[in-house]
């Protein structure tokens, strides 16, 4: 386990063009890469489901999954979504600051790690394309799942389409400007 942590320089000069190992996947795309080195039984993951349940209820009850709220946001017809995202970000900033300041550990005693994100042009091109899709479907990936949960099963097609879009990106990744 310790070899992963002491591994410092990538073997390949450009991890985007060459094949990434798990470590390089993290360095080029830090989102959602598991930092825990602990091995737990699979059912330990149910605690994340519990967080998800609260999250899903808030998503639906505050109508964040509503196509109408997203259209209002992009037409500046309502403050609602700006308030939701703004409150979330402010609380997130305070939480992360407190975690760093007091070196808060996980419930298993592991230190909590953060990884600086690297700028790439993908954040601009991809960001714009994502924005187009967000306004069209009225949903980003989280609400897609929640909409299915409310019984809008046709959104399952949109979700499969989003998975296909991710796959297409993976296929063309070496040829895209980053």
């Amino acid at each position: 386990m310790s070899e992963v942590k002491t591994f410092q320089t990538p073997v390949v000069p450009d991890p985007i063009l060459a094949g990434p190992t798990d470590f390089e996947v993290r360095s080029i795309d830090t989102m959602c890469i598991n930092d825990s080195q602990l091995k737990h039984p699979w059912w330990y993951n149910f605690k994340y489901s519990l967080v998800g349940i609260f999250f899903g209820i808030a998503f639906v009850k505050a109508e964040i999954i509503s196509w109408f709220r997203i259209q209002e946001m992009f037409r500046l017809q309502s403050f609602h979504m700006y308030g939701v995202i703004g409150t979330g970000v402010v609380l997130g900033i305070v939480s992360v600051w407190l975690i760093k300041k007091f070196k808060i550990r996980t419930i298993y005693g592991e230190s909590i790690e953060f990884h600086p994100k690297r700028f790439s042009r993908g954040q601009i091109y991809g960001g714009l394309l994502f924005g187009f899709g967000w306004a069209m479907t009225g949903a980003c990936p989280g609400p897609l799942f929640a909409q299915i949960g409310t019984g809008a099963f046709v959104i399952g097609v949109t979700l499969l389409s989003a998975i296909a879009g991710t796959w297409i990106y993976g296929y063309f990744r070496p040829r895209l400007p980053h």
Partner: protein, 201 residues
């Protein structure tokens, strides 16, 4: 004896009423904001939902593409998280359902009526998000092409609204600020300049 029971009953009913009404923006903001430290403290997990789309590719169809060749089983916590979101959405739309139609801003309602979108009874407009609509040109573009753009764009940008706009900004990451601004710019362009033509189809 009875007053106590009545009080409890009343309390329970008013609690359900509060929970059943649409929640104010700050209530949802608090839950979303607290998700960030909750996932970090429960197991060093970074909030980000579009990663699940990538894990799904890695699990189902890696097709020897380098981008999908990693140990996706290490990330199954995120599938459990998403499963919780689906379950939470089910609870919110059944037990805590709001019987009233969704309130829509008058300006938007007037605009949508011009495109034949008049049903505001659900969270999503039934005239756009339905199986019949899916097989029309307008519905196909909005649901299928829109979905492709969400999946392609989020991975190209290295994250979506959760990974960049919430988690990334919480960690004061400048690349996340750029991505978030581009999400918004893209959304403004699509909703105001392009979507009217699509909805008129």
């Amino acid at each position: 004896m009875t007053p106590v029971i009545n009080f409890a009953d009343k309390y329970q009913r008013s609690m359900m009423q509060i929970l059943s009404q649409p929640w104010p923006w700050w209530a949802a903001g608090i839950v979303i904001g607290l998700t960030v430290p909750a996932l970090l403290i429960l197991g060093n997990k970074h909030f980000g939902l579009s990663a699940n789309l990538r894990h799904a590719c890695a699990a189902c169809l890696p097709a020897n593409i380098q981008f999908f060749k990693y140990d996706w089983k290490k990330e199954i916590w995120n599938f459990f998280f998403v499963g919780g979101i689906v379950a939470g959405a089910f609870i919110a739309s059944t037990v805590l359902a709001n019987p009233e139609p969704v309130q829509v801003a008058p300006g938007l309602a007037a605009e949508l009526q011009g495109y034949g979108i008049t049903d505001f009874s659900g969270m999503v407009p039934a005239q756009l998000v339905s199986w019949e609509s899916l097989f029309s040109l307008r519905g196909f573009i909005m649901l299928v092409v829109g979905g492709l753009l969400v999946g392609f764009g989020s991975r190209y940008a290295g994250g979506c609204t959760s990974g960049h706009a919430i988690m990334g900004l919480s960690d004061l990451q400048f690349p996340s600020l750029i991505a978030t601004c581009c999400f918004m710019i893209g959304g403004f362009i699509m909703a105001n300049l392009v979507l009217p033509y699509i909805m008129a189809l």
